[in-house]
Symmetry: C2
Subunit: 443 residues, 2 copies
């Protein structure tokens, strides 16, 4: 049996590894258009910032590792076509490679901004590690950077370039950072902190053109022109599924490939995972697309396991998220207020503020918690947090709380660790839930 | 209506505050034998260590605060008797004070070790803030300290005295630290770290006598004599309920007062909370006693609310716990392996090791996770952790997981935040659960 995987990112590598483990005798072949697999693109901003020493550090495994595992990675090999009738993929070289099972893990592509100058030199889309390493050398000569789009990556890149010492501008058409994910009140302290770090925010501002001859030297925005040495573009991502679309596989409303819980596509023996697919949101069933590397890796494992004849299901998602913005961390899971309102999901909202350690213990940080619940069942449907420590763990907790239909009452009276250096008398999530209970009582 | 509270600790103050909020017209009187209320005894070790500047910092509220709240705190006032027939408490002065509702929050007392010399000068039981402040001056003159009993407080005190620069010895009869709470494998790295900090561990060692004329100058143990300047005793605690016992209230098997979910004792109108009571463990219903300040405070709020005519229930406990030992944090919730084995609770156990941030991000710390599950239902029944950050939040999560009968499969495939500075690709709890799943499959 030959299992072919298209794509060498988190989903593809997760799929190949799981396929290898599930079917010891199968031939597992991974095609990637790039020079490398097995590194973490999520770490790129932190090399630019200097927090991580070098790009090499982002590699989790070297090429020998995959050979030793019996995974045949074909580097710099572009798949140009999937032929479902002949059960083969066609390569750029003209060769065809047959498959018994196929996993499509073609990831995302950026929405290139449709404005003049969008292909000038000096425009950089963070994605590939080698291109990022080259760009890092360009940054050595640069004094000013413009980052477009306050997406999670855009916010991370802006913070990283400011930390590196560049005069950094972040341009986004929306009124607050991470507007596709986070609520404005949660982002407010994070915005202030990003400005302290030296990032000039240009919110409610659209990019109208990239200005320059061969090389960009300014960004023209709705609020004036920003002279710059480099531009980092972090626009919204979309599923990269030209191959799947041309092969006639079913594409969903988000642009992601439609798969079932086994990560099986509409064609027998063809699976898919990662940013190329859409998956249902827990509770609502609304398809969502463009999640995290952690999601891609988990989906890849399910796809690879099933492709190899094993069994496994991927459950609907509540999407815990989090990132560091300046001195704060922000995060959440399930519905935020803006999203619940936009989708007309019935909800009651409450807030509370706690602390991360005993109030008298040095270094404690505020944790602001905002929770949403179903007004009828009191089940928590989501929440968002901003604070200094423990945000990731609380976002994970919230995702599980939403998944298991845990109620506001459960959270309001939850037990918690009380130990002065690591935890306060009352857990911030409980304080948020008590705030929400008060709202429910008057609602 | 007059609501009388005996005890000014976390439970008593929680009860008084909740009673005040619930019955605005009630008279709320708190009797305490001490000079103060409204401080955190849990912070005492961290003042001795120098991490917190002064004992004053541990006060959450000053005396005026309680006056302003309409809570009548009678300081240095010893209650000598509860007369249930006459609905009054008798004071040391001979006065009697009537009550309509009573809340007993008399806390704990230490089991004084029954060995010669147990009342010498230089023996200190950490409890009251003023005695601790006096003891802190004694420490200024001391070079060597012996701490007895590797209870959570004993471990915290030993670490604190070593940090302060004293030659510190910790003596405990059991083979590992925190043996009443934690498993030995979880404590192993923490023990090594405590030793690095300068604490000499004397495990499997019993105290046979405190040696000295008026003042202690050595501790005689089963393993030889330890010369010392001071001794800090942190023996197991027991419920302090002489008053309740003499009044004829029902006492449980742990020595704690028996209460129902409303925190009502066996006598109408009489409530109790905190370390003086016992509460059922979730799942098994086994009575447990001697929990944390956070538990005491929550129980106090339920007791005070119900005493004042409101409604509220306290749910069975899973007891998340955690503390810092040297450079590690340890914690857990529900059943550990030792306790489950001792109580013959059917269980399967699995372990896993994850990391707190991306593997390439500076400062990441290992998180070792040990989980127990019911072999039939796969519900998680408890777990323990040792690591560097996020231990308290994960212990809280685990307590909720046990409470809500979350399964190993739920945890093994949980979603998690992946952001290099705050979270790794796979959550350590999930890695632990995957380890446990593998055990369940072969069990």
């Amino acid at each position: 049996m030959r299992i072919v995987v298209i794509g060498g990112g988190a989903a593809g590598i997760g799929a190949a590894g799981a396929a290898r483990q599930t079917a010891r005798d199968a031939e597992v072949v991974v095609f990637t258009e790039y020079e490398d697999v097995g590194y973490s693109p999520c770490g790129i901003p932190y090399v630019h910032s200097g927090e991580i020493d070098e790009f090499e550090d982002l590699f989790l495994q070297d090429k020998q590792f995959y050979r030793d595992q019996g995974i045949d990675v074909r580097y710099e090999t572009v798949v140009t076509r999937i032929d479902l009738d002949r059960r083969e993929v066609r390569l750029h070289s003209g060769d065809a490679v047959g498959f018994d099972r196929l996993v499509i893990a073609t990831g995302f592509e950026y929405e290139t901004p449709d404005v003049p100058g969008n292909h000038l030199h000096g425009l950089h889309y963070p994605k590939n590690i080698r291109r990022s390493a080259e760009f890092d050398k360009v940054l050595d000569e640069a004094k000013v950077a413009v980052v477009t789009d306050a997406t999670p990556l855009g916010v991370e890149m802006a913070g990283a370039l400011a930390k590196r010492g560049l005069e950094t501008h972040l341009v986004d058409p929306h009124p607050w950072l991470l507007s596709q994910v986070a609520d404005p009140d949660i982002m407010q302290p994070a915005e202030a902190s990003l400005e302290e770090l030296g990032v000039t925010l240009h919110l409610r501002t659209t990019v109208e053109a990239f200005v320059g001859e061969e090389r960009v030297h300014a960004v023209r925005t709705s609020d004036g022109e920003l002279p710059t040495d480099v531009v980092v573009l972090c626009p919204p991502k979309r599923a990269n599924n030209r191959l799947a679309r041309e092969a006639g596989l079913q594409i969903g409303s988000t642009g992601g490939l439609v798969v079932d819980a086994r990560m099986a596509t509409s064609s027998p023996g063809v699976f898919a995972a990662g940013e190329a697919i859409e998956v249902p949101q827990d509770g609502t069933g609304i398809p969502v697309q463009g999640l995290t590397g952690s999601h891609a890796y988990s989906q890849g494992k399910v796809a690879g396991t099933n492709a190899a004849g094993g069994g496994g299901a991927y459950e609907p998602v509540n999407v815990p998220w989090g990132l560091v913005v300046g001195k704060w961390s922000v995060g959440g899971a399930g519905f935020g207020e803006k999203l619940a309102t936009a989708l007309r999901i019935p909800h009651v909202m409450g807030v509370g503020e706690g602390i991360s350690r005993a109030r008298y213990y040095p270094g404690f940080k505020k944790v602001r918690v905002k929770l949403l619940a179903d007004p009828r069942t009191h089940a928590v449907i989501g929440g968002q947090l901003v604070g200094g420590e423990g945000i990731k763990e609380r976002a994970d907790f919230l995702a599980m709380a939403v998944k298991k239909r845990i109620t506001v009452e459960d959270l309001a009276w939850m037990e918690n660790v009380y130990a002065p250096p690591i935890g306060a008398l009352v857990e911030p999530l409980a304080i948020g839930a008590q705030g929400l209970l008060a709202e429910l009582e008057t609602a």
